[in-house]
């Protein structure tokens, strides 16, 4: 398998540089844009990378477990009604909102943001981030 400074899964791997790049992108493109907290997780519910604005104290492991399960459930519902997938997954709250975006078959990006970021801006930023992360495999 890979070199000492890489981390691995059974299905694919990323090296340390790629991980640092991902963290940088999450920070620059999302946290700096006003997003409260962002998680990159895999479909098994493991956390790949995480960034927040320093004012969040979420239970990120539970969040990741629930998000991956929720995403998988919605994805299965899509298949049952004959859709390939439902593209927008978004939950709106009084103060906090949560947005899910599939990066590729194994990764999911979860963003938590408040009133100071519009859904339009968020989707734009998330799309940019997703493209950059996908670029790691191209």
């Amino acid at each position: 398998m890979g070199s000492d400074d890489s981390y691995e899964f059974t299905d694919y791997s990323l090296d340390q540089e790629q991980l640092e790049y991902i963290e940088e992108v999450l920070d620059d493109d999302l946290i700096q844009a006003g997003v409260h907290s962002v998680l990159l997780i895999d479909m098994a519910g493991n956390i790949i990378a995480q960034k927040d604005n320093g004012h969040c104290d979420h239970d990120v492991y539970s969040l990741a477990a629930l998000a991956s399960a929720n995403f998988a459930a919605v994805d299965t519902m899509a298949k049952i009604v004959g859709e390939e997938e439902f593209s927008l997954l978004f939950h709106k709250g009084e103060n906090e909102n949560i947005h899910f975006s599939k990066v590729h078959s194994e990764f999911l990006l979860i963003t938590i943001f408040g009133k100071d970021v519009t859904l339009g801006l968020l989707r734009l930023k998330v799309n940019e981030v997703v493209e950059k992360i996908r670029g790691l495999w191209e």
Binding site: Q16, I47, A69, A73
Partner: protein, 199 residues
């Protein structure tokens, strides 16, 4: 599909408790949660019905400290045991690294144990995983019951473990007997299977 992060020196692995409905999977996690309360900083997450049956899963993150220089985080899950919930049960198996099969020792649950083990084998196969290869521990639960007739351990071994030859424990999730040994065993098997990536 454990996640080994060489940068933060952290390992996340997923262990799933499987078995027939009402066999004691949730009770196992509740015992672990109460026993290691000081180590588990978050609440146990349970998605259940009004009747207190597991609807999707229970989730308990369990920080077991350092192994080979890695901070090891074990994510414990249970599946819903009821037959009708197979779609969600299958989703919980995604990326599983180790399994505990919780069998119900009551004599009238013999067939249910069988069905559930067979269902596990099928669901693992859907992820291209073999029940013979994945780290697996069997638990013969509810040994404390006095009112209802229980199957002898030898019978359960023969029924469920003849080919699997997995480590097994008679246990009581209610009293806690052999709950922690079951957990320790599956953690050590799971960690052993990850050794080639944790160097």
């Amino acid at each position: 599909m454990a996640f080994v992060n060489m940068k933060t020196k952290e390992v996340q692995a997923k262990i799933v408790f499987y078995g027939p409905g009402r066999g004691g999977k949730t009770t196992n996690l509740e015992y672990v949660y109460s026993k290691f309360r000081e180590r588990i900083k978050t609440d146990m997450v349970s998605i259940k019905t009004h009747g207190d049956r597991t609807l999707f899963f229970d989730f308990l993150p369990f920080d077991i400290g350092k192994i080979m220089g890695y901070d090891v985080k074990i994510q414990l899950y249970t599946v819903p045991g009821q037959v009708k919930y197979n779609a969600t049960r299958k989703l919980v198996l995604k990326g599983v690294d180790g399994m505990v099969f919780v069998a119900d020792s009551q004599r009238d649950k013999r067939e249910k144990n069988h069905e559930s083990l067979k269902n596990l084998q099928e669901n693992l196969a859907a992820y291209k995983k073999s029940i013979f290869k994945i780290p697996l521990v069997l638990q013969y639960n509810k040994r404390d019951l006095k009112e209802t007739p229980l199957m002898p351990i030898e019978m359960m071994e023969k029924d469920l473990n003849k080919q699997l030859k997995a480590p097994s424990f008679p246990a009581s999730a209610i009293t806690g007997e052999n709950v922690v040994p079951t957990l320790k065993k599956i953690i050590s098997l799971t960690m052993a299977s990850l050794q080639n990536v944790m160097k």
